[in-house]
Symmetry: C3
Subunit: 260 residues, 3 copies
């Protein structure tokens, strides 16, 4: 028997929207410690890893570890049926071929339950090596999302150059070039408006804007995003899920052909 109750159905909705466009089918691994998911995007370029620890749930019971194969599109459709203030409960039998998703309105006068058919999905769990990062950027998630959206009108490849003064995002394309400089900025009124660069050495890397833009779908999860970079390693773009989890995206840098 598996049962997990989350106070805000809307949070689960945001988590699924954060991965839906990148990952179409994935195994939700449910264990005593919580729910996790790891999946490559459909073109096998980026990796998405998700964790919601059991202490984030109002009620959590996991008799036996389960791997639930889901279509993210289908669960997204079902989550759209939740009211803004509804709680959500996920339920599955140990030998389940369906996941039950139950929504309850605050006054209990509307209860909906949906049964989502499960799928067998082949997946190998990739070990992600611990890496030391030369630059760790923390910045407002909305600003990162906006920069990705803005630069996409100019070109396909984003150069992220980070040094002690801040971060520079640049792109070039047929119509011209674009360059957005975000300065290290810790003297702001709101903690979440802060831009901080924790740096050992400056790093400059190039990435496919298309993927960075897809990562920014996680923006509604919270006010800040952390970008960790080190040469010759995938960038990690991380959005915390409250205090009890995260969505992390990994993307390998593009190799500059001119440098080869």
């Amino acid at each position: 028997m598996y049962e997990a109750r989350l106070l805000q159905a809307s949070l689960l909705k945001k988590i699924i929207e954060a991965v839906r466009e990148l990952v179409t089918d994935a195994n939700l691994d449910c264990s005593e410690s919580g729910i996790s998911m790891q999946a490559m995007d459909s073109s096998h370029v980026s990796l998405c890893a998700l964790m919601i620890r059991s202490d984030g749930f109002q009620h959590y019971r996991c008799d036996r570890s389960l791997s639930l194969g889901l279509s993210t599109g289908s669960i997204s459709k079902i989550l759209k049926c939740a009211g803004n203030d509804d709680t959500v409960t996920l339920k599955a039998e140990d030998t389940a071929d369906a996941l039950t998703i139950m929504f309850e309105s605050p006054k209990q006068d509307r209860i909906s339950d949906f049964e989502l058919k499960l799928m067998d999905i082949d997946s190998e769990h990739l070990g992600i090596p611990k890496t030391e990062y030369n630059c760790i950027i923390q910045m407002p998630s909305a600003e990162f999302a906006r920069i990705m959206r803005d630069l996409q009108v100019i070109g396909d490849t984003c150069t992220i150059a980070c040094d002690k003064d801040g971060v520079n995002f640049s792109v070039s394309g047929d119509m011209g070039k674009g360059n957005i400089m975000v300065r290290n900025n810790t003297s702001v009124d709101k903690e979440e408006d802060k831009v901080t660069v924790t740096m050992e050495e400056p790093v400059t890397l190039k990435f496919a804007l298309r993927y960075l833009s897809l990562f920014a779908k996680a923006t509604p999860l919270g006010p800040t995003v952390t970008i960790s970079m080190t040469p010759d390693n995938p960038v990690v773009v991380e959005y915390p899920i409250d205090t009890f989890g995260y969505v992390r995206y990994y993307l390998a840098p593009k190799i500059d052909e001119a440098d080869e």
Copy 2:
């Protein structure tokens, strides 16, 4: 000479939007007692009946009964030209081949008039037999609309099961099943949030979700909807028009092939 003046052009707009997608062409029957319309949808599955009694108009004059053949799409386009606070006047000569629709802004500084060409539409007025209903559900119209929208993502056929505790809407499809329970609920702050089931006997019937969704286009007309069901008879979904009329939709239940 026919002349009918309604204080809120926006109300007429909502009425036309309530039928526009279901019924493309229809006769507006104008008589001393008011305006009525009765029409099958274009696939002849459901019936829509409309009544606006003459006392709902600020000014009403009907020298001779008229039947005005209209394209609901065309009148809808014209009504979109009305300002939010405009009054609307419908005018037609007794032998008219056009309906004049006049909008006046509150300060009379903007007056628009449109002439809509009339059409000859063959229609037979169906007598709707008086029926006793085993279950009459009254619920918030917005909630009914939302449930129809939500369930449509799962499947095509909605089972409505009504008993003394409330109403259960359910659906199933390729990705799974859905079930939404709305409980009898009379202890609410606002009259319009009330869910009441007036029941002689429990009823369970199946309907095409597509039509129930189209009926829900009438939601802007007001806060409540009434659903009347009895076995082997069409369901009636009724939206009151203020205190002086209604839009009613009739839809025959689907016959469960497994039951035959």
Copy 3:
């Protein structure tokens, strides 16, 4: 060296949106007196003329007159990258093949610069003869935009008839006719709600609604529009740019075939 700094990037955005759909490529003529542009629409039916005087800029320096050939679509894309409160600076070298567009956030913590490639555009500057107009209509720009949008659902050709009482916009088409009368109205609370007709003689002219609608894309520039008409001459539809410029559209009247 050319450098022009405008306090509100949003104003430049509105100016470009006002011409973008009508004119795809145009030369921006930068001189000591300011920035001007003159271009026919792509089907050579209407003419658009733009002027922003140098005193409208916070900083303005023009060592040598320049003609910058731009794609309005490309500059529009770049301007969408500006924040709402950003300032914008345009920069070009005297022999430039690119225009630099720089945005600065109010606190200077975000600076973006874009380089837009320039194009060689053949254009002849048309002399627009000074004309005396029989009717000059000043009316709220939002109302003019709305009337153009409303009438377009009925037909393609708008007849504008202006006399001392006001202006009448009319149209006819397959589904019927439409007629919107806007009365001379000077006793209003807000200056910008005023409708005034300054008239020597009544004028009635016909125009292609498609173009009048495109002109109305300039509506966000300000609360009023001025329409100047005289027989056998193009109508002028003018939107002021604050106190330091304008966007003007010229459109030749349609000749009524029945009159010929």
